[in-house]
Amino acid sequence: MTATAEIVIIIFLLLGVFLTLAAAFGVIRLPDVYTRNHAASKSATLGVMLILLACFLYFYLIEGHFSSRVLLGIAFIFITAPVGGHLISRAAYNSGVKLWEKSVRDDLKNKK
């Protein structure tokens, strides 16, 4: 039982760390604000949620302590991080940051 729990926790932790690393590489390598924001807000959100889930499972299955505030943290990040990304992107667009020169579509161009 404990060995299975440990394996599940290790898988969640490694997946979460990998996704956070992928988000960091995306922020470095992608060309403009919007694609970088896309990488950072999606991948890092799921990565942090997986790490928190592993933390919750560790304390629940190994230590026997049900930590509801970690669950609340998972829900909180799931709600707020995409909204944060949306607001940063919108602020960038409204202040006139250019899209990448190879972008093919800009639906908001005629709305201004």
Binding site: R69, L72, F76, I79, T80, V83, H86, L87
Partner: protein
């Protein structure tokens, strides 16, 4: 260009209650766990600041018709009152009392007068933070 804040306002309305619940949890957990009046008060005012960001200052004042300077006064009164209450029983200033009380709904609960002092800290922290932010926000 007129901005459309539906996403921000809807999430703020949901998240506000989560933050306030967590603040109350921190406030009541302060005796046995990390937390207490200071963090709880800061987090409650953080929730109100989130509403200030999502809506304008007049809407929030209408929603919370509180004079925060009076809130500071009430908090200080709580703190001084619990500290001076020990003088009535002929024991030194700031001596706290505690004990188990049987309440009608909650059952046997251990209560401590340090909680009332913490309530004072909580109210003062909310009052001071909101006074600072609202006075900075209103002067244009």
């Amino acid at each position: 260009m007129k901005t459309n804040d539906v996403i921000l306002q809807t999430t703020s309305k949901v998240v506000f209650f989560m933050i306030v619940l967590f603040a109350i949890h921190l406030f009541f957990a302060g005796h046995y766990n990390p937390g207490g009046g200071f963090v709880g008060g800061l987090m409650t005012s953080g929730a109100i600041v989130l509403l200030l960001l999502a809506f304008d200052i007049k809407t929030v004042v209408k929603g919370f018709p509180i004079d925060y300077i009076i809130l500071v006064g009430i908090g200080l009164l709580f703190a001084v009152g619990t500290a001076a209450g020990s003088l009535l029983f002929n024991i030194p200033f700031f001596t706290h009392a505690f004990g188990d009380v049987t309440l009608p709904v909650l059952g046997k609960t251990s209560l401590h007068t340090a909680m009332l002092f913490d309530t004072g800290v909580y109210l003062v922290v909310i009052g001071v933070t909101m006074t600072i932010i609202q006075t900075i926000g209103e002067s244009e």
